[in-house]
Subunit: 108 residues, 4 copies
Amino acid sequence: MSAHSVPTALREFMAEREWRQFHTPENLAKSIVIEAAELLECFQWSAEGDQEDVTGELADVLTYCHLLAMHFGLDPDQIVLDKLEVTRAKYPVGLARGRSEKYDRLSD
Amino acid sequence: MSAHSVPTALREFMAEREWRQFHTPENLAKSIVIEAAELLECFQWSAEGDQEDVTGELADVLTYCHLLAMHFGLDPDQIVLDKLEVTRAKYPVGLARGRSEKYDRLSD
Amino acid sequence: MSAHSVPTALREFMAEREWRQFHTPENLAKSIVIEAAELLECFQWSAEGDQEDVTGELADVLTYCHLLAMHFGLDPDQIVLDKLEVTRAKYPVGLARGRSEKYDRLSD
Amino acid sequence: MSAHSVPTALREFMAEREWRQFHTPENLAKSIVIEAAELLECFQWSAEGDQEDVTGELADVLTYCHLLAMHFGLDPDQIVLDKLEVTRAKYPVGLARGRSEKYDRLSD
């Protein structure tokens, strides 16, 4: 287990390399989708992805997500929990149970 | 602050809606890139993204990242810290400082 | 100029390698976004992409677009022209001139 | 069949709306991946995508591909054929037949 929290570790890592200059929100958003596509590449031709590859690519997506959250002063866990409340209202259990349709296509 | 951790909250939310059946690793990987592209859409025509929109889309990316991590029994923070060590070796400070090139294009 | 049209050339190429078996619509859609992200990687840290890299990645995106179009028997040029008519109705010149907002955010 | 070629039709459409100002190569690359992810959304939870939805999203991807090709003065068909020759060399029939691995993982 690391002695550092993720934001502290990332901050130190980026500062040593003077990489913060590249980390505009726009560049980070591009980076997140680029890494997300590399993650998808683990599943390009098969439903089974190699777990080690998946782990590495998922870590890359999460790293850029942390950097973007840090830029805006957001707590990553808190925004997930906040968004869950929004989604809860859009997808009431009675309507959404066992269905994958988008909320605007759900009806009784 | 929520009384629930993110994994617990997500597990409960998905169980209520019987959505785990849709959450194969492949579908989650597709979902991560789909949400990442919606995040990028905040910056499609401008370097400045609306912070509220960015927050919501980033939360969606993170939600699917958590679900994929849960599927493989991974701790999201730990894999970020582990990957940072790999990146540290690929991008030594002396070589990478202030440069955005990929490691295989870095040289003295 | 090649003696072959693109669909004919692609069909022959894929047949020789017995790759059609991998080209389900879903796999092609994944491949398009994977290649599109590699194209975006040319612009990850800078607004200026290397033209040779851009050309190669754009060709990859287009290749998978052709394969998906072929799967559904679609003429790529015709669907672009058809969609342009739809977009024309959503974005009337008088409302959309010089503005990058989505149609549902346009108003006088 | 349209009286216009795709590039001519797109040029006229964009000129009327004064949208060329937004079409930097970087913005077009972002747009391609955004639209590619919307195409993938047709297959988010199922291997079967609705053909009408797929057609519309594929048209959007192709539209931005054409705009990027036009920016660099590239012929979309020619770059696909050129890239096919590169791929032909990387994936010789004898090695690649019936296999989906990347060229750097192919061996006898």
